[in-house]
């Protein structure tokens, strides 16, 4: 069973995975994962689109300073995003319904940030997927062009 967290939606790996997961999570009192309760899914796409335009603009204009600014911006937003994701995970894992049928003293159900973790009889694995790969790649490419730009400047000077 699997979940995909997109920039604008949450889907199951199989057509019914999300429903089934929500159905089963009530045993431990976890809130249902509901797209409408997660505002990030609404505004995140705007941020990404804005970043994309900025990226295109920088790519067109060039200039090592603007490239560096963009890289820092992406990394900063990435860190904030990851912190936000962590907080959601924390919320789902700790903020449990006190009437839950299964209560294990001291147990919380926060999924791993990256990697695998055994949660009772479930082995939960979190991995970044295609979107993060693209963001990572764009940072690398900008980093490369930043160095390139600097080098060119050095030669000219």
């Amino acid at each position: 069973m699997g979940l995909y967290i997109w920039i604008n939606k949450i889907t199951g790996e199989g057509p019914n995975d999300l429903n089934t997961l929500n159905g089963l999570n009530h045993y431990i009192g976890m809130k249902t994962i509901d797209e409408e309760s997660i505002p990030e899914l609404v505004f995140m796409p705007y941020i990404i689109v804005t970043l994309t335009f900025l990226g295109l603009l920088v790519a067109y204009k060039g200039g090592s300073r603007s490239i560096l600014t963009l890289i820092i911006l992406i990394i900063l937003l990435g860190v904030v995003g990851m912190y936000d994701f962590y907080m959601w995970e924390y919320d789902y894992g700790h903020n449990l319904n006190p009437d839950a049928p299964i209560k294990v003293p001291g147990m919380s159900y926060q999924p791993p940030f990256i990697g695998s973790k055994q949660l009772l009889n479930i082995n939960a694995t979190s991995l970044p997927w295609i979107g993060s790969a693209f963001i990572g790649m764009s940072v690398l490419l900008f980093g490369f062009s930043y160095l390139n730009e600097r080098k060119n400047k050095g030669i000219q000077a």
């Binding site: 019914n16 089934t20 159905g23 045993y27 049928p101």
Partner: protein
């Protein structure tokens, strides 16, 4: 020199040891060889083949894995099954309606997989009811019975369903002849009044829906088994008959007198033309057509009032008789479509007819008289050969892909392997005991898998631990991949396994159903979400719209039901996960429990007779909190004014 002697002494001393070890090994391999390995399917792994075996007098169809011989499922077909609610629920009980009223059982004989181009395509499997003549279609997406069609003007629907090469038709021939239309006559007037029928049921290639297209009136014999032609003989179907003596009492003697009975060869393409040309007469009839509606998945019954009947007297060239010794049972067409093997159960030889010779004989009018307008072909003109010494009581033959045929012999309890063309017996193997049909995987298709043969035995006697007077029936798995047949495995079967069909597992596993989708649930009483669960009462009808999901029902407390009410529990399983059915059972339920698959709504009725509290619970262990999946019903006296209340305490 001394050393050499020492070695020699050592060698001589070791020799008996080697002999003992060797001997021990060879004696055990003589017993079972590698049979245990051949049938061993590792835990968690799949069998190579599915085998569908008729449940005989249980009325059902069973699903086994081959080579392991493990039973996976019993599909309810002609008999009510309180375990799942089949034939009890409002959604399924119409399946068992007939012109004789509701019938909760039958005797199921011959499964037949649907075919495309002469190969099993895995879409559907058909099976006949022998007692109250019917044919059922089981959908192999969900392994559930989808349709049952009653056959009018028939009694003892034995020669059925035996699909044609592209499942254009399934067939039905009558074991018992009857007055047609049925009426009150002197039984002694058999010869004058009794007739047989051969029915062709058209199968819709998309939906699988069956329609009784036409019937052929046939002389009043007992029609036994059937097979459709394939390849060059596609367009024809063959039916064995016995009792050409037309006896109506003590058949075991009176129907065994003639040296030869007949195989009826029907040119069904010609019959279609006659129907198109208006030669068929519409006869009043009374029969039921029951099917599961695709949208609602609720079974419906339609009462049918006419049937189109062809009389061979008006239809020259449509049907011929092939004389065949002696009270033949099986009539089996080889993979090339050229040979038609008859199992004359009282004959000392196994006659094989040739399709091409038959066509020549028809063209050359090599007839030996006629019966009721049906020309009888000369035996020598159609016969291709006779297998000598085919065992006692040869019944039924199937084929491998290497040109061999395998015939079951009931009286001598053996399988006899012989070669097509030379007709010589090449091997025989005893079976335990009294084999009826046999089945080679795909042995009735154009491309058999000559790996396994399943012997379907009538009697087990001492083969298993005894269970009192009533013993299990049994199948035996035989390896036919080599020159010599090898017995691999005995395994018990349900009812009586009259016949079976085998299909490569991957044909079915590549496209099967795991759940019914909630959004496709078209049941008019479905509850699509827990918030829609409710109880509605109109007069003394109470409808409970209930949902089931791990691990609770909604509602689970209901009050205000009164003695004299008829309560309909419409229970919807909201799960969308594979292998999470829920059960539903109420204390004192007089009909059956429910077993509800994910995405399904099933309805059972309950008429409480005493006031009090009645618990209900999930009867299929669904989850860790399955024991908690329960509720209470409060039943009050008929005249009480307890209000209708329901909920989950929220």
């Amino acid at each position: 020199m001394q050393k050499k002697i020492q070695i020699l002494v050592l060698a001589v001393m070791l020799l008996p040891l080697i002999f003992i070890i060797g001997c021990g090994k060879s004696s055990s391999s003589l017993d079972t060889g590698d049979a245990a390995q051949r049938v061993y399917v590792k835990p968690g792994e799949y069998d190579e083949f599915y085998s569908f075996m008729s449940g005989g007098f249980s009325g059902q169809l069973s699903v086994y894995g081959i080579p392991s011989g493990r039973l996976f499922k019993v599909i309810p077909v002609f008999s009510q099954n309180p375990e799942t609610g089949y034939g009890y629920t409002e959604e399924t009980k119409a399946m068992l309606n007939t012109s004789h009223g509701f019938i909760p059982w039958d005797d199921a004989h011959h499964p037949s997989l649907s075919q495309s181009d002469g190969l099993a395509d895995g879409k559907w499997i058909f099976i006949n009811a022998n007692n109250t003549p019917r044919i059922a279609r089981i959908d192999l997406k969900d392994f559930e019975t989808a349709e049952i069609l009653e056959i009018p003007n028939s009694a003892g629907n034995h020669g059925s369903p035996f699909t044609t090469e592209n499942s254009e038709y399934v067939v039905a021939s009558t074991r018992f002849s009857l007055p047609i239309p049925n009426q009150d006559v002197d039984i002694k007037s058999y010869k004058e009044n009794f007739k047989g029928t051969i029915s062709f049921i058209k199968v819709n290639p998309e939906s699988g829906r069956m329609n009784l297209e036409f019937q052929i009136l046939a002389p009043g014999f007992n029609y036994d088994l059937a097979r459709a032609g394939k390849g060059p003989s596609h367009g024809w179907a063959f039916f064995t008959s016995y009792n050409s003596e037309q006896a109506n009492t003590l058949l075991e003697i009176n129907a065994s007198k003639n040296d030869k009975d007949f195989i009826a060869a029907v040119n069904w393409k010609k019959a279609e033309e006659y129907v198109k040309a208006g030669k068929a007469k519409a006869m009043p009839a009374d029969y039921y057509h029951n099917y599961v509606d695709e949208k609602t998945r609720v079974a419906k019954s339609e009462q049918m009032k006419t049937v189109m009947v062809l009389d061979p007297k008006d239809c020259p060239g449509m049907i011929y008789f092939l004389p065949t010794p002696k009270s033949p049972h099986g009539v089996d067409v080889d993979p090339t479509g050229e040979y038609i093997v008859a199992g004359g159960k009282l004959a000392t030889v196994l006659p094989v007819h040739s399709f091409s010779k038959m066509i020549k004989a028809i063209d050359g009018k090599k007839f030996d008289g006629e019966i009721d307008g049906i020309p009888i072909l000369k035996y020598a003109e159609v016969n291709a050969g006779e297998v000598q010494n085919p065992g006692l009581g040869p019944l039924h033959t199937e084929f491998d892909e290497k040109g061999f045929a395998y015939t079951s012999a009931f009286i001598s309890s053996e399988v006899v392997k012989w070669k097509l063309g030379t007709w010589e017996v090449v091997d025989r193997i005893p079976v335990y005991y009294s084999i009826g049909h046999l089945m080679v995987m795909g042995g009735d298709t154009k491309k058999p898998f000559g790996k396994y043969l399943v012997a379907l035995n009538k009697i087990t006697k001492d083969r298993y631990l005894p269970t009192g007077p009533s013993l299990t029936q049994s199948a035996q798995l035989i390896d036919i991949s080599g020159d010599k047949m090898k017995l691999l495995l005995d395994f018990p079967t349900i009812g009586e396994p009259h016949y079976a069909q085998g299909i490569k597992a991957d044909i079915l596993t590549k496209d099967f159903m795991k759940i019914y989708k909630n959004e496709d649930n078209g049941n008019p009483y479905a509850t699509k979400g827990e918030k829609d669960a409710k109880v509605v009462s109109e007069g003394n009808i109470v409808r409970v719209y209930m949902t089931a999901a791990r691990s609770h029902f909604a509602p689970d407390n209901i009050e205000g039901i009164k003695v004299g009410d008829k309560v309909y529990f419409h229970v919807t399983n909201l799960e969308q996960d594979w292998d999470v059915p829920h059960g539903f059972a109420v204390k004192g339920m007089n009909n059956s429990e429910l077993l509800i698959m994910p995405g399904e709504t099933r309805t059972v009725t309950w008429e409480p007779k005493q006031p009090g509290i009645y618990p209900f619970y999930c009867s299929d262990f669904c989850s860790a909190l399955h024991q908690e999946m329960s509720g209470y019903l409060r039943v009050s006296p008929a005249n009480s004014n307890v209000e209708l209340k329901f909920g989950t305490g929220k």
